[in-house]
Amino acid sequence: MSYVDQYSEKVKEHFMHPKNMGHIKEEDLQPGEELARGEVGNPACGDLMTIFLKIKDRKIIDAKIKTFGCAAAIACSSITTEMVVGLTIDKARKLTKNQVADELEGLPPLKLHCSNLAVDALNKALDNYEQGIGVVRK
């Protein structure tokens, strides 16, 4: 069996119609809002994800993402952005790759690492935020 046959309906849906794709620009910020960014590469197959978070009062109010990777990576990107919007930074920190995979009704074993990537990008953005690296404030 090909791993493709193991893609759930939810994975297919998010891959074909990914949500929150793109980036957040400085101009998109209102006073009191902050922009954090996180970029990670996938050591297993050399792919790339960049996530953008709009933060206000330590709460994520918007998320956008750009992904170079397989269908699973794109689906994970899409669902991760949906899952984090509305969460406080502390809650977002607790998001795990398993939760992402579960929300997608599972991933083929070969593709589990693609869900790491989205969560890693999220955590990278939150680290950058806490450390003030590349954070834009209005």
Binding site: D5, C45, I65
Partner: protein, 388 residues
């Protein structure tokens, strides 16, 4: 895979390098050999004789296509088995010599066979240039008095590059080394005349040229010593035990009879227009493999900044079947060894899509494919952090 969800009417098959539909005439020719002509070709009685006649008639047809003698063709289960038998057969039959030369872009059936032999034999894997061609000087330099066999494929399955087997044959002859070529992809598309060029072993397969799966052949030039790899009965010149797959063999021969140069010309014309259109109208695209020495039906393009699995699935959603060299679709998460061998960077190998045309494809199908392709590339680039 996404076909169901979108209720698509149209289907365009552009993966003939993987396999091809069996011609109706081929199916028809095969049919009697499942039922009334079911005999075992080794049986003495009249049932056996019917099967034996079909077997030998088919052998003549395969031989005719490459200008070989009838007793220089044996039937196998396909290209993979032919490659295994040719390489192991030669090396195990030749106890004095212990060296094989092959290339880095061979099909896994050759590469893995060579790798398995590394325990006991030495193997040279020749580099190829950016176009995919083996350097003939390097080949000649690699030959030693321990070299038993050179195995270089005729046409590559991923990038369609056609090697200069005439010159390779001359080099091998000059140094008294046997020459095997895997002609699975080129058979009936690029002519081979074994009386005109020097080649000792040729692997052939039926399902890449509108014949059934699970049947192939090996050309073995008269006088070439080979050790049997499958023990048992004395079938196929006592080189391959097993009751012959008569229906498959008859189908294979029929497919060979039906193959025509007109189809080759037609595919080539469609191919050229398709390549030109992509390179011209979709930015940041490159053709993988040289343009000149190229199989009539192969188009392999890198779409920069995107990953092949996504593109493949988008096309699949529109009923268009292609394949990719991306790491993300391979079980090992390694990109295509062929694309890496011609010098592609990992991220460019990721975005490589192979379209392999067949004789039934039309201009209209390729126009449809182009429209869907352009749209999918645009959408995937929109979400890629690599795209400008």
């Amino acid at each position: 895979m996404l076909q169901k969800t979108l209720k698509m009417a149209k289907k365009v098959y552009l993966d003939h390098g993987a396999t091809t539909p069996v011609d109706a005439e081929v199916v028809e020719a095969m049919q009697p050999y499942f039922t009334e002509k079911f005999g075992n070709a080794s049986s003495i009685h009249c049932f056996g004789k019917v099967a034996r006649d079909a077997l030998e008639k088919s052998r003549e047809i395969i031989a005719w296509k490459i200008n070989a003698e009838k007793d220089e063709i044996i039937f196998t289960s396909g290209g993979s088995e032919s490659n295994n038998l040719a390489i192991k057969g030669v090396l195990f039959a030749n106890k004095e010599k212990n060296h094989i030369i092959t290339s880095k872009i061979e099909h896994p059936a050759v590469l893995q066979t060579c790798q398995a032999l590394e325990n006991g034999f030495s193997v040279t894997y020749l580099d190829v240039d950016a176009g995919g061609l083996v350097d003939l000087k390097k080949l000649e330099e690699a030959i030693t008095d321990k070299t038993a066999l050179v195995s270089i494929m005729h046409a590559n399955n991923e990038i369609g590059v056609i090697q200069d087997i005439r010159t390779i044959g001359e080099i091998c002859k000059r140094h008294n080394v046997l020459f095997h070529t895997d002609a699975v992809q080129s058979f009936t598309k690029v002519p081979i005349d074994v009386k005109d060029i020097n080649v000792d072993l040729i692997s052939l397969s039926s399902h890449k040229m509108h014949g059934p799966k699970g049947i192939g052949a090996l050309f073995i030039k008269k006088g070439t010593e080979l050790q049997k790899q499958n023990q048992g009965g004395h079938q196929e010149l006592d080189l391959r035990a097993g009751t012959e797959n008569i229906s498959g063999i008859v189908g294979f021969a029929k497919a060979v009879e039906l193959a025509s140069d007109d189809h080759v010309a037609q595919m080539q014309e469609l191919r050229d227009k398709f390549i030109d259109k992509i390179l011209k109208e979709i930015s940041d695209t490159t053709l993988n493999g040289g343009r000149e020495e190229r199989l009539c039906n192969n188009v392999n393009i890198t779409f920069k900044f995107i990953e092949g699995e996504g593109l493949l699935l988008h096309l699949d959603a529109h009923g268009i079947a292609v394949s990719t060299g991306s790491a993300c679709t391979s079980q090992s998460l390694e990109p295509s060894h062929v694309l890496l061998a011609i010098g592609l960077k990992h991220e460019d190998a990721h975005g490589a899509i192979r379209f392999t045309l067949g004789k039934e494809n039309t201009q209209e199908e390729l126009d449809y494919t182009f429209e869907k392709l352009k749209e999918a590339v645009k959408n995937l680039r929109k979400i890629s952090p690599l795209a400008k």
